[in-house]
Amino acid sequence: MESKNKIREFIIRTFLFGSKDARLADSDSFLETGIIDSTGMLELVSFIESEFGIEVGDTELIPENLDSIERLAAFIERKKVASAS
């Protein structure tokens, strides 16, 4: 839950001009809704790497891992589990 909140806060602050009215469901695709383009994805990757202390490999740069709040949160969780084991 905490991951999702941090991601949401970052996206609203960075891509939606901090709009308090922004409606962003956990499952909304960033790319399909036009909130983030592929350049923006790089910014998002930099954020999660620094915020959550994970390293995102080239092969992990796929929509399945990064293209919604819930996908990102699940990906971060998987990365944390993998690094802990």
């Binding site: 592929s38 990757v45 740069l61 796929i62």
Partner: protein
């Protein structure tokens, strides 16, 4: 009309005539100028645009420019000269390296590259490129820095957001500097600047705003790349230019348009763009192109995103409606 691989076939003689009439009319009646200035890149688009301009106005009213900089491919100059000679047009060469140096283009770029490869010796070549496996897997368009070191080794690194933007912004100064020079040469002659953008580039936003996109007219902007090739053959563009792999020639390490932007061959890009513009069902497109539905969906999605993201390239700067 049935969607087939030949859907983009044109009557080259007829199209050449239409564009020639357009250029003559625009220069004479709309711009009220005396001729055309055109930059020759050594590529097919500028060669075709120049050939059409000569047909429209005569070679004495077409002034061509070669605008190389220190990272340009020498072939661009060679083929640019070949094009000018074959058309019998005046050709002036202006090296823009010093102007680019004054903007810090090379220094700022070197600074970024050396962040990734700190011990890199001078004399390296570099480019930015996208992964070329667009059809094979779902992935994002994330640019990599690719460096050809002086010892022949190739180094790659994924670019961080700020560094990608930094490289893009410095590189775009090259095209914008060329635009400034073209307009200088045009204005002092009372000529118009002829653009060389084709429809495939325009629809996908593969242009630099106010760079190569900053021109007076775009005679081939309604032709897909495939159709530009058809016109080139009809117009007798030198074989070397027709056979050259399309490249933006922006980076010192040679890269094709496909490497840098499209991730697909032009033939595929053109047919998908046509299908998008004309509402051809995806199933039909996949069948004609010999692609699986999943592959076509990936290409379609990627191209649709590029089109949307660059919509502002194709329109005038927006302004607010003011009511009384």
């Amino acid at each position: 009309m049935e969607f087939t691989k030949d859907i983009l076939a044109i009557d080259a003689e007829k199209v050449a005539g239409q564009i020639t009439d357009f250029i003559r009319d625009q220069v004479k009646n709309y711009f009220r100028r005396k001729g055309i200035v055109i930059g020759l890149s050594g590529g097919i688009d500028s060669a075709v645009s120049a050939a059409l301009s000569v047909r429209a106005l005569g070679s004495e009213r077409v002034h061509s420019l070669l605008l190389p900089e220190r990272e340009s491919n020498p072939v661009s100059r060679e083929y640019g000269l070949l094009c000018a000679k074959s058309l019998g047009v005046a050709c002036e060469e202006v090296d823009i390296t010093k102007i680019l140096e004054s903007h810090g283009v090379y220094a700022k770029r070197d600074e970024i590259v050396k962040k990734y490869f700190p011990g890199l010796a001078s004399g390296y070549k570099f480019r930015i490129a996208l992964p070329q496996d667009l059809l094979e897997r779902d992935r994002l368009n994330v640019y990599h820095l690719e460096v050809l070191a002086a010892d022949g080794s190739v180094l790659t690194a994924r670019l961080a957001h700020d560094d990608f933007l930094g490289i893009l912004a410095t590189s775009n100064i090259k095209q914008r500097t060329r635009m400034i020079r073209l307009f200088y040469e045009a204005e002092r002659r009372q000529y118009a600047v002829c653009g060389t953008t084709n429809l495939s580039e325009a629809l996908q936003g593969f242009i630099v705003k106010y760079g190569d996109g900053g021109v007076d007219m775009e005679p081939i902007e309604n032709l897909y790349k495939n159709q530009v090739y058809q016109l080139a053959r009809y117009l007798g563009v030198p074989k070397e230019i027709i056979e050259r792999t399309p490249s933006p020639d922006t980076y010192s390490y040679v890269a094709s348009d496909q490497d840098v932007y499209f991730c697909l061959p032009y033939d595929t890009v053109d047919l998908i763009l046509y299908a998008m513009e004309h509402g051809v069902p995806k199933e039909k497109v996949a069948k004609v192109l010999g692609l699986g539905m999943e592959q076509l969906e990936r290409a379609w999605r990627d191209m649709a995103h590029k089109h949307e993201a660059t919509e502002h390239f194709r329109t005038m700067p927006p302004s607010p409606a003011i009511g009384s």
